[in-house]
Symmetry: C2
Subunit: 205 residues, 2 copies
């Protein structure tokens, strides 16, 4: 009965059409929930080209579907951040890369702008909110040690603040008060100012 991805299940053997259904459902959920976070299971199923019961065959509940979706999102986000060279580039550049990865991620997972979704299934599990902040925190701490960032504010707080700033900027875009380009520029500038970087990203060499 649909164990999906709990934790450390021996990767149960699936038939190809089942795998295809699961992918279609997750993809449909990503898109449909990105537009309306309160879309019904029926809508998601229809968008995926299956019946509602098929969804329940793979995901025991709505929350379980959410969890799997968040899981997939976290994996993609982590992959994006892996390619961003957060640990090697100069801190200010790495920070800009971090934000850039965030923009690409949010364009693909707009549903994560709705904090109600991610806030609800809080019980442990690794969603972006548990995986990403520590990465950013480490980057900020490194910048504080190299003198690129101001060390007078806790790195954990700055990490939360930077992510929050990006959420704010994304919300401004979603509400039509800013274009995506302007929002990204303002967010970057504000982030640098917040972290105490005295100049533009490339000025840190």
């Amino acid at each position: 009965m649909a164990d999906t991805l709990d934790t450390a299940t021996p990767a149960r053997r699936r038939r190809s059409d089942a795998r295809r259904s699961i992918d279609a459902i997750l993809n449909a959920a990503r898109i449909v929930l990105g537009e309306r976070a309160d879309a019904s299971m029926e809508e998601i199923a229809t968008a995926a080209g299956v019946t509602r019961q098929t969804v329940y065959a793979h995901f025991p509940s709505r929350d379980a579907l959410m969890a799997a979706l968040i899981e997939a999102a976290a994996a993609e986000y982590a992959a994006l951040l892996d390619d961003a060279g957060l640990d090697t580039a100069p801190p200010a550049d790495a920070l800009a890369q971090f934000l850039d990865a965030g923009w690409r991620f949010l364009r693909r997972y707009p549903l994560l702008l709705n904090p109600t979704v991610t806030r609800i299934h809080r019980p442990k599990s690794n969603d972006p909110h548990d995986v990403v902040p520590p990465l950013l925190e480490r980057l900020i701490r490194r910048g504080q040690q190299t003198g690129d960032f101001d060390p007078s504010l806790p790195a954990a707080w700055l990490a939360a603040a930077v992510i929050g700033l990006q959420h704010t900027a994304a919300a401004e875009v979603a509400d039509g008060r800013l274009t995506a380009a302007k929002a990204a520029a303002l967010c970057l500038e504000s982030t640098m100012r917040l972290c105490g970087s005295s100049g533009r990203p490339t000025a840190s060499r």
Copy 2:
């Protein structure tokens, strides 16, 4: 049937017990929804000491109740900001006052930390999200003209960013990662840095 507070209705004559019920309902909603934003009408009614149908006698729908609650919140928030002297105090001090009013407001209306609530009934109407940012924006603009704040970033964006920063700080408190006192201090410091105020609040004289 239950116009509650639409717009410019001739203040329909109500009986005193009706007024009492409405107040009890709004108060219960404020508290119950502050703890669990998805609480049912039944729970709210019970907490208010009335039946579910009585709630519907005054508020046609859940969204209408939300709207009335947001309306009341906006009024209280506006009153707090009126007492904050945003237009007279030195900009940096006024900004600190703004944040302080926000903290008091959020302690009374914790449900407004859940953006899903306020984001859903978007159709115009004056909720804090439509009333407060312009006030802050005006304050920031003033600070930019007096030279207290950096004028290189748009005031509207800075206003959104400051409010977002406070939301982030409040979320850190709600999740137990910061104490209320630390969060307020970090939020203030970050806000000043963001707005380009080179010193502490009182250093702007």
